[in-house]
Symmetry: C2
Subunit: 400 residues, 2 copies
Amino acid sequence: MPAFRFHSTRSLVQPMRATLATLQESRIREVANAGMGRGDVLPFWFGESDEPTPQVIRDAAVASLQRGETFYSHNLGLPDLREQVAAYASRLHGAVGMDRIAITSGGVNALMLAMQALLDAGDEVVAVTPVWPNLTAQPVVLGARLRCVPLSPQPDGAWALDMAALLAAITPATRLLVLNAPNNPTGWTLSAQEQCTILAHCRATGTWILADEVYERLYYEPTPNACAPSFLDIAQPDDRLVVVQSFSKSFLMTGWRLGWLVMPPALTPHMGKLVEFNTSCVSVFTQRAGLAALAHEADITPRVVAHMRACRDTLVPLLQALPGVSVAPAKGGMYAFFRLEGQPDSLALAKRLVAEAGLGLAPGVAFADEAEGWLRWCFASQDTGRLAEGVGRLKKWLGL
Amino acid sequence: MPAFRFHSTRSLVQPMRATLATLQESRIREVANAGMGRGDVLPFWFGESDEPTPQVIRDAAVASLQRGETFYSHNLGLPDLREQVAAYASRLHGAVGMDRIAITSGGVNALMLAMQALLDAGDEVVAVTPVWPNLTAQPVVLGARLRCVPLSPQPDGAWALDMAALLAAITPATRLLVLNAPNNPTGWTLSAQEQCTILAHCRATGTWILADEVYERLYYEPTPNACAPSFLDIAQPDDRLVVVQSFSKSFLMTGWRLGWLVMPPALTPHMGKLVEFNTSCVSVFTQRAGLAALAHEADITPRVVAHMRACRDTLVPLLQALPGVSVAPAKGGMYAFFRLEGQPDSLALAKRLVAEAGLGLAPGVAFADEAEGWLRWCFASQDTGRLAEGVGRLKKWLGL
């Protein structure tokens, strides 16, 4: 027998990492669960369209399955897909080599892989909030220290970055800056000029930038490339920059779990190891679907974006017409983020709206403390009439 | 401007975590890369059958895609699939509730999730080796400290556990014990009695057991349940035990990336959060394939296992007949692990066999230092004639 004295307990006193218990379950799901199984609720709580993936994309996966492509594949993705992703990124942002691309099991997986590549426990991460909660949870899972720089709501309902505050927060002690622009949930977007300022600062401090740009194509301001400003437009290949992308939004492929990373070439082989240790690879049939999506991008994405814009331009004016509502049209993304006067508790409000109005929205507090009192409405809806019906329910609930 | 002095460099002096650089790229892939694009190499290096997934499983995914099931789903998996997985585990091991099941993006993803749930940076992990290298890499990715307890090769070529050495290594300071039995690469398997001894010890030390049992059905000893001994047979639901399973081996589904975890019920909601932060969910169409696999398990798995046994019983005697070869028939798994007298450098040998004999094997050193001088041959082959041809090539290369 070993020489040490056995502890007396076998109960689950410490059932897991203490860190894990501090991670909040999604308060979006908390609201959605409250409405689960109720056919009379109009759900706008999750960040996905209610339109299935285009047939031509699904057909490519079906054909692959029928060919029997059911084996392991490359950690970094099919060479064909990496090449086509690089070509697509190059069309939007200037030359991006395929040696900078890794195919991942969705955008969130790309973010987790990037953080595993860059963060040791104890490292300092700066994040701009409000933001999709996964982005701030991942550093915590990895034992990093998180520091948030809040956007500020403006009188018109738009959110704005205080650049001086952000730059002051990023010091040589900052290992990683996490940014999501166009932003979920606020619709806030970085300008090219702001990206230049941030990149210059992070070059000086030696800080990595992790840019979640999955909404880049869902951008409603006039641009030459039909795309939001990207750090790829201004950075060099060997900058400390990792950009996360996804097929989910631009190709209506949320449920497929297919995304990619753009990174400095020197990082790519190491990312291949991390893919091996996390998921091994993405299914070949899913990657074939990605190839079909890119091959038909000119047909699919502009249609998706035009429809999203129509959704935004249906919903936002209807909301703006309600007394006590502050909301600005999002520059990018697929959300209306709004405040209702006299309703400071967004979780309680969202639950009441489910129960009393049959309207399913996400509570602002899910995204940051400073977003308390706000609600997120995903306007990605095949039928814009659903949006009008939702506003009608809100109006009725408000007694208007 | 901030008050600190900027560092002068923006070059990639520290391009990523130092830890990441220490992780070895797969030496199996190093050998495979050496043979890439050479049609004259018979590959037995990877751990997968060359038989595509059964049609009935593929059909279920195709039908799901045709129905348009392309949306996000539950973090923990479709309730139907969790229920069927629980029923399957219960048939093999006694009652397992679906509140203990999480569906994951493959077995390796299940392992990574479990480690994220249990390991803080600096925690001590004990692993029994030789083992699939991902199992020892994952704790390192998470900043844990790894301590290996080696199996020992016996004169007949089988590998054996020194139980006293293992128990001595597991102290109250040990957060997690990682075990893979039936074992990749050695074929070593824990007996039920050994599992009882280990469980009792870990209960006393408060150590979690992470049991990778993905080869449980590929087991060739006589048993009442056509399954290797499992910790689930002997543990209580609230024991500090997490078992990892996969559809890959028993259902010929390597490329699908579909697996599951069995854990204490109290851990399950937290695992749901980790799934959200790692991959969000598994594609619904992939989960439908899993449901079809379980529905047809009685047709599929016994046939797969019988064929694997035929493969083992073809390959091992042929190898044993060669002078200078030590190899024992694996009790479980799908590998012949053998030593060739006078060949101490397995990586160099494996590369020479590719180049000079057209034979693709995995080098033992990929699995542990103590496996240096050994080679792993995956015998999962639709055509057992391929195995005989492979041995013929080895024989010729040996000048026999």
